[in-house]
């Protein structure tokens, strides 16, 4: 078993599920012969044909609406927005139909679809190719919002997303698509969509994050360890519906929480986690909650983008502030 990258894990999960379930189809722009602009669907059209791996016309509204139609007929479509920045024209079909058809029809029509999109900054890409806009979907009932942050979690969570009877937004942190490899057995084992993953145990401070920032957050935990501060690191992975219990347990233990994400601060999903803590863990808190996030500005073009993205250093400093407080 060869070690694979996160993007290869995505391909592996798609291939596995298409092999085992004829109703799984992939559609989007350039997903066919080209195998996707990031190579996520490479080889699939050759194996499964032009209809099951369908290059669509260039219209995201079409992709999303056709996805809803396919799913309503019992298919399991996995569609792609080429970048998260091009997902906006999909929103009406996601919010008004994918997320609602079960509710609307009292369960008669359901939408077991996955909406995939490469997500986030840090790859020196052109405009609109670096957003972190997961917040758009987290206040929409009926959706699951998932962000894997390792090859193994990409594989297991994508399998779970495809098999889930309800629509799943699946955002892939493109900055870590090829960051490192790990062995991911192609055994068709899904991971649960209703838990946060504790990546590292610690006692002094809880670091909560998701997506590509897991990298900096783990680095920060290392740096903190060197200064004798024991940080627990939680990868939220499935933002909604949220498994707050795992976070609460950790905060009860540590009394301190730093939330890290690359989306703009105001009304980013970090706000929800901080809010839950203020509601449910107030008496456990030994220090104010900290958010280390992108700024409330558009992520700049790439000459400046690393000044925008939360750095390991910022996380370390916030954690130290939290530990110093009380």
């Amino acid at each position: 078993m060869a070690a694979i990258t996160l993007i290869e894990a995505v391909t592996q999960a798609l291939a596995y599920e298409m092999n085992h379930d004829d109703s799984v189809v992939v559609l989007g722009e350039d997903v066919g012969v080209n195998g996707g602009v990031f190579r996520a669907t490479v080889g699939l059209q050759e194996k499964f044909g032009e209809l099951r791996v369908l290059d669509t016309p260039l219209d995201e509204t079409t992709i999303a609406g056709v996805t809803v139609g396919l799913a309503a007929q019992g298919m399991k479509p996995v569609c792609e927005a080429q970048f998260e920045g091009f997902i906006y024209p999909m929103m009406e079909h996601i919010a008004c139909h994918a997320a609602r058809l079960r509710t609307r029809t009292r369960g008669r029509i359901t939408v077991p679809a996955v909406f995939r999109a490469p997500w986030g900054g840090g790859i020196r890409a052109p405009e609109h190719h670096s957003e972190a806009n997961e917040h758009l979907f987290t206040n929409i009932p009926g959706l699951r919002v998932v962000l894997p942050s390792s090859p193994a979690r990409a594989y297991g969570l994508l399998l779970a997303a495809i098999r889930d009877p309800d629509p799943v937004m699946f955002f892939e942190p493109k900055r870590i698509y090829r960051q490192y490899k790990e062995e991911v057995p192609d055994d068709g084992e899904a991971l649960p969509l209703d838990v946060c993953f504790v990546l590292r145990d610690g006692n002094d401070v809880t670091l909560v994050t998701w997506g590509a920032q897991v990298k900096e957050t783990l680095e920060a935990a290392d740096a903190l360890a060197e200064e004798g501060i024991s940080a627990e690191v939680i990868d939220v992975a499935t933002l909604t519906p949220l498994d707050f219990d795992t976070i609460a347990e950790s905060v009860q233990k540590t009394g301190r929480c730093v939330i890290v994400h690359e989306a703009p601060k105001t009304a980013g999903f970090g706000a929800e986690i901080a809010a839950r803590i203020a509601e449910e863990c107030l008496y456990d808190l030994l220090a104010p909650v900290e958010r280390v996030t992108g700024y409330d500005t558009h992520i700049p073009l790439f000459r400046l983008e690393m000044k925008y993205l939360p750095s390991t250093q910022r996380i370390v400093e916030a954690a130290k502030r939290a530990v110093a407080a009380s």
Partner: protein
């Protein structure tokens, strides 16, 4: 100059406003008077149903309701040409097509009465049709996606969507016919052009001479029909459905009709359109012209009309009663259809809501 491409949009009409045939080549179904009587009956039922709905709304028993008055030929023509295994993706007023496919008036009342159960159509084949779609034109893409599913699975089924003149301006409509053209999908896209999108007249909607010609943009066979002539509507539908079923791809049909009522019961059309226009439109009434023709064929008369009206009224009374007797869903119903299985986080909210509801009594 060399010509790269040439197109024509045909106009199809059999029965004119006075109930006279304007062409001789009647399609097979129209030669069968039993079929024609059946279609007539459904058109009348639809109208009786509509009248009843408005009455219900006026007496506070429905919320907003979107009437189908004047659309009977278009809607029944669409619904009656489809096979049970086909799939209909309607907008929100195509009751004439839906009743044909088994939607019950009580379900329509439920929906406009503020109860999601109205969308849970109990009878086949409606049960595998789409529910009403309020976000304009989105249903066109759901039909295109369904057509793609049929093609992938090799099923000989056709997806039909209906959309208004207004809706034909929305990106979803163009997107649906475009992918259907590119992939030769078994789709029939019907534009029900009733001249108005709430207060916006057809002329403000587009500069195109016909709405049918939008199909040219997708390379599709496209036709304009008299949407108040059930024979024309059904014939165009049959042709398009046959082509689709034979693997020859999608079509666009424009049914030219008129919205005789207000947009919905929340609207007052007198604000934006003149009396004369509506009076003129009444002269093209689809129900009346078919009745005249059937009477001329000795297939219909006053006695049968009376009996039909009574029968429809009884049906509707029964449906209204079923609706009015329905109990409001429990508070738990707000939660129970959000996901297949309720997530732990939402379960807590459900418990809160249930306890608040108990407290309220």
């Amino acid at each position: 100059m060399p010509i790269a491409a040439k197109f024509e949009i045909e106009y199809l009409q059999y029965l004119d406003a006075d109930g006279k045939l304007v062409r001789k080549d009647l399609p097979a179904f129209a030669k069968d008077l039993d079929t024609m009587v059946k279609l007539y009956k459904l058109m009348v039922s639809t109208r009786v149903f509509d009248t009843k709905s408005i009455a219900l709304q006026r007496t506070g028993k429905l919320g907003t309701y979107a009437s189908c008055l004047g659309h009977e030929a278009a809607h029944v023509g669409i619904g009656s040409a489809m096979k049970p295994e086909d799939v209909l993706a309607p907008s929100y007023r195509e009751y004439g097509a839906q009743l044909f496919r088994g939607v019950q008036p009580r379900e329509v009342y439920m929906y406009w009465g503020g109860d999601e159960r109205g969308n849970d159509y109990q009878n086949e084949p409606a049960r595998h049709d789409f529910a009403w779609s309020v976000p304009i034109a989105t249903q066109c893409l759901h039909a295109a996606g369904s057509a793609l599913a049929f093609k992938i699975r090799g099923e000989k089924r056709v997806a039909v969507c209906t959309v208004g003149d207004g809706g034909s301006s929305k990106g979803d409509f163009y997107g649906a016919i475009n992918i259907a053209g590119a992939q030769k999908l078994p789709l029939v896209a019907v534009i029900v052009n009733n001249q108005w999108a709430i207060s916006v007249p057809r002329r403000i909607q587009t500069g195109a001479q016909t709405l049918a010609q939008k199909g040219i943009a997708a390379g599709l066979p496209s036709i304009q029909v008299d949407g108040n002539d059930i024979i024309a509507v059904r014939k165009a539908m049959e042709d398009a459905l046959d082509r689709a079923r034979a693997g020859e791809g999608a079509s666009v049909i424009e049914c030219v009709t008129y919205r005789l009522g207000d947009h919905t019961t929340a609207d007052d059309a007198r604000r934006y359109r003149g009396k004369e226009e509506v009076e003129d439109a009444w002269k093209k009434d689809p129900v009346k012209r078919l009745r005249i023709w059937l009477e001329a064929q000795k297939a219909w008369d006053e006695t049968r009309e009376k009996a039909l009206q009574d029968e429809c009224n009884d049906w509707m009374d029964n449906e209204v009663n079923a609706y009015l007797e329905s109990k409001t869903q429990p508070v738990s119903a707000m939660f129970d259809y959000t996901f297949a299985e309720i997530p732990a986080d939402l379960e807590k909210q459900r418990e809160l809501a249930l306890s608040l509801d108990k407290g309220a009594h």
